[in-house]
Amino acid sequence: MSIQLHAHARAFPIGATILQVEDVSLRFGGVKALTKISFDVREHEVRAIIGPNGAGKSSMLNVINGVYRPQEGTLSFRGSKLEGMTPRRAAHMGISRTFQNIALFKGMSVLDNIMAGRNLRMHASFLEVAFRLPRALREENENRDKVEEIIEFLEIEHIRKTPVGRLPYGLQKRVELGRALAAEPKILLLDEPMAGMNIEEKQDMCRFVLDVNDHYGTTVVLIEHDMGVVMDISDRVVVLDYGKKIGDGSPDEVRADQNVIDAYLGVAH
């Protein structure tokens, strides 16, 4: 169903380059995680970064949202260079993400998790909160409303108040997506959103990713090591292997690319 959905004309046509990665290299001590990676992400597109395990996909994501600082290379957002990226700055710029192994706030309910995703939009001081002064209450209500839209969007009304710890894996992934969406990001980074899911769950997740892209016009950058699903839903694909870029283009081009095929030889997909 995901495929068919995509066949429609796009609500948000793909626009200009929003994120530019240039010659990024990243090392841990001696270990080279990334070497001279360059690619661009255009507004409103679904951009996939694929590659076998250990190809440096996650490192790439972590560089984009400032968790890691590359030793060389630059990132530019809407044409302006980004110096000294930090996760917080990334968040403020409208980059939000999910994690490969779910990083939800285990002790909190689904609702609170997603609410927490909107903390950037809450400015009341702890005193205002403690005394429930108007601004605090207003922010609480306004943001709750937004969050509820997301809950509706992801069809998780029935688990709204459940502690995330009790949810099955698939749902947790969905909630994490919700938390990332809550920030109303310009760019959404998804770190292996379908890892460890059964086929229905994968299909659902595909649907939601596409719906997000389609409904909010969010630019999506997602990582997968499993070529299958991604190919159907992404507009363009970057292929990494051992920290080097070995392919870049439309799914079909990439599928045809000899280097890619070689890289994936042995990797059962």
Partner: protein
């Protein structure tokens, strides 16, 4: 003031009346975004006028038709009322109907405007649009996924409303005229009968008939504007329309729309309805849930529960009916009420229910009595689409499982030679849309409606329904054979989901049984019987034994009734697949199509009346997405324990 001048003979007029009388009271609540968003009568009336203005702009005229395709939502009811405001006819349709099933209603009714809930419904309509050229406007409520739809007919509800608000000032005069023009004899709505019998027909009902029946019933039960009802049944079904539209409009009470199907129960508990309607299948589902969940309770709690329920079984129903009961029992019951009944009513969300109806199908007596015994005033009523529901209603305190009560005010009953029930009442339908001969066949010259139901009046004046006339048959020996009666007796057992009885013109009665996946599955887990799915479970010897017991119990019961003792069930089989409306085995209201099933599974029927222990069958299954697959299975045929007819004991 103006109320006295003009009669409140149409729904829009009633709406305006409430907007004036109780403008600030809640008219509709909708659970959305986690809270109950409330629409007052005033707000509702404004919404309706805006929509009406926009609809007239887009060409909806007196006598036109607006189809409604969606779940219970305030917008849907607003649109319905807006259409009626303009003198158009509302045509609610089943949202789970397949696209192909929609062609006939849309086409035959010459529908020009459609209200569709979401992308799913819109897609269906677009699919069949070529066959329904008349359609000019499709209003969709949820814009999720609709952004890139370019079709000119499409407009979002929000946009429509905006348009209406802009037009409102300019069109105020026109709206008032339209409102005044409308009168009771106009057609208000058209309902397509589920069609247990042949092709679906569009039943046209006038404002008068709907309002009259709604009012009579409301007065009978003393409903008032503090009552609350949950709107959860398909709006396309007359019952839903009466309880969630006609009666609220007449009385001014508030209806609540649940957030979604899976949250229905918790939502219902939140709003705590005072006025509740549930077809037998819903009551069954509730009861099944109760029994399943109590299965898991600790031994002590179970024991307490069992004790309380046995007491309730003895005296509960009588206490609920306000009959005299021994002091000891009464006290014991009030203790039970504290410990079990009260909490049980509450977790079911029915602790505030004053009046509850069940109808649509004859209800198993035990089922009815279960709810009454825990203090929920569930009553049966009799009626149909053609009669705007209310023909007979059981008065408080006179609830007998085997009757549907006396005729309500304004209704005349009479019977033909072959026991068919004829009804004359102000609530009768106007006509079958564009189908005069069908109309003539159903409603004769002097206004008697032929219900097609066989029944008789007891000396207590309460109506007793036996079955559909065409279904009531006789066994080879000429004794009465009433399949539905038998099926219902069996269906009361939580393990039995559906049952189909055969025996007309045969020497003995045999049955198909559909197990209830939830109940039997749970039972199997307890017995730790491993199974892969429904068909596997259905083929288990243990399950056959389980169902065998149920059948035996039914037979024991039948044996005590002289007229029915001969229709004890001799053989039965557990069907390998669930009967399904998508396969045409059930109607959309989930009534079994006995004839259809009989033809479709003739090999099985033959086998039942044969003697072999099992038979191989291939059946096609249609999946959600329309794909069709063949499943083949060995179906075991089981003999049931039967009992000698009880001798009539001397009084």
């Amino acid at each position: 003031m103006r109320d006295s001048q003009e009669p409140l003979d149409t729904f829009p007029k009633l709406l305006m009346h409430h907007a004036r009388q109780r403008g600030e009271r809640a008219a509709i609540r909708e659970k959305k975004h986690g809270i109950w968003k409330t629409l007052t009568w005033m707000q509702l009336s404004e919404k309706v006028q805006a929509i009406a203005a926009a609809l007239s702009e887009s060409g909806l005229k007196r006598g036109g038709h607006l189809a409604l395709l969606g779940d219970n939502r305030p917008r849907l009811y607003a649109a319905m009322c807006a259409a009626q405001w303009l003198g158009a006819v509302a045509v609610p349709l089943y949202e789970d109907a397949a696209a192909s099933e929609l062609v006939l209603p849309l086409f035959s009714a010459g529908v020009t405007h459609i209200f569709a809930e979401d992308q799913e419904q819109v897609d269906k309509i677009l699919e069949i649009l070529p066959q329904c050229p008349a359609v000019t406007t499709i209003v969709y409520d949820e814009d999720r996924g609709m952004r890139h739809y370019a079709q000119p007919q499409l407009i979002s509800f929000a946009a429509l409303r905006e348009k209406g608000l802009d037009l409102l000032a300019a069109r105020q005069g026109m709206l008032q005229d339209e409102l005044a023009k409308g009168n009771g004899s106009d057609a208000a709505a058209m309902f397509f009968t589920s069609g247990t019998t042949g092709q679906a027909k569009g039943v046209v009902l006038t404002h008068d008939s709907l309002i009259d029946r709604a009012r009579v019933a409301a007065e009978l039960e003393g409903l008032n504007d503090t009552d609350v009802a949950v709107a959860y049944l398909p709006p396309a079904w007359i019952g839903q329309n009466i309880f969630s539209y006609a009666q609220p409009m007449v009385v001014g009470y508030c209806i609540c729309c649940p957030e979604s199907q899976e949250t229905f129960l918790s939502d219902m508990r939140e709003v705590g309805p005072t006025y509740f309607f549930a077809p037998p299948r819903v009551l069954e589902a509730l009861l099944t849930q109760v029994s399943i969940r109590m299965e898991d309770a600790g031994r002590l709690k179970r024991a307490l529960y069992e004790r309380c329920m046995s007491l309730a079984g003895r005296v509960g129903a009588r206490i609920t009916s306000g009959e005299a009961v021994g002091l000891g029992d009464r006290m014991a019951y009030s203790l039970g009420n504290l410990a079990i009944y009260g909490p049980l009513r509450d977790v079911l969300g029915m602790s505030q229910v004053r009046v509850a109806y069940t109808a649509g199908e004859a209800v198993g007596p035990e089922l009815l009595m279960f709810f009454r015994s825990i203090g929920i005033n569930v009553k049966q009523l009799y009626g149909s689409t053609e009669t705007s529901v209310f023909v007979c209603v059981q008065p408080n305190g006179q609830v007998k499982p085997d009757t549907v009560g006396p005729a309500v005010q304004g209704v005349e009953l009479k019977f033909t030679a072959n026991r068919e029930l004829l009804v004359r009442s102000p609530g009768l339908f106007k006509e079958y849309h564009l189908n005069p001969e069908a109309t003539r066949a159903a409603k004769d010259a002097d206004g008697w409606f032929h219900t097609g139901d066989a029944g008789y009046l007891g000396e207590d004046g309460h109506l007793r329904i036996i079955d559909r006339v065409k279904d009531v048959g006789a066994l080879a020996d000429g004794t009465l054979f009433a399949p539905k009666l038998l099926e219902n007796k069996l269906k009361f057992f939580p393990f039995v989901k559906e049952a189909v009885a055969f025996g007309d013109g045969r020497d003995r009665v045999c049955m198909f049984v559909n197990i209830d996946m939830a109940a039997v599955g749970n039972w199997a887990d307890k017995k730790n019987i491993a199974y892969t799915g429904h068909s596997d479970l259905a083929s288990r010897a243990e399950v056959h034994a389980l169902i065998g017991d149920c059948v035996a119990k039914v037979n024991a019961d039948l044996a005590t009734d002289s007229t029915l003792s001969s229709s004890q069930i001799h053989r039965f089989l557990v069907l390998h697949k669930e009967l399904d409306a998508d396969d045409g085995e059930l109607t959309r209201t989930r009534k079994v199509r006995r004839g259809f099933i009989g033809d479709r599974y003739q090999t099985l029927v033959a086998a039942l009346y044969g003697s072999q222990p099992s038979v191989r069958v291939d059946a096609e299954v249609r999946y959600e997405d329309g794909r069709v697959a063949m499943v083949s299975a060995d179906v075991k045929l089981c003999n049931a324990k039967t009992y000698p007819a009880a001798p009539l004991k001397a009084a």
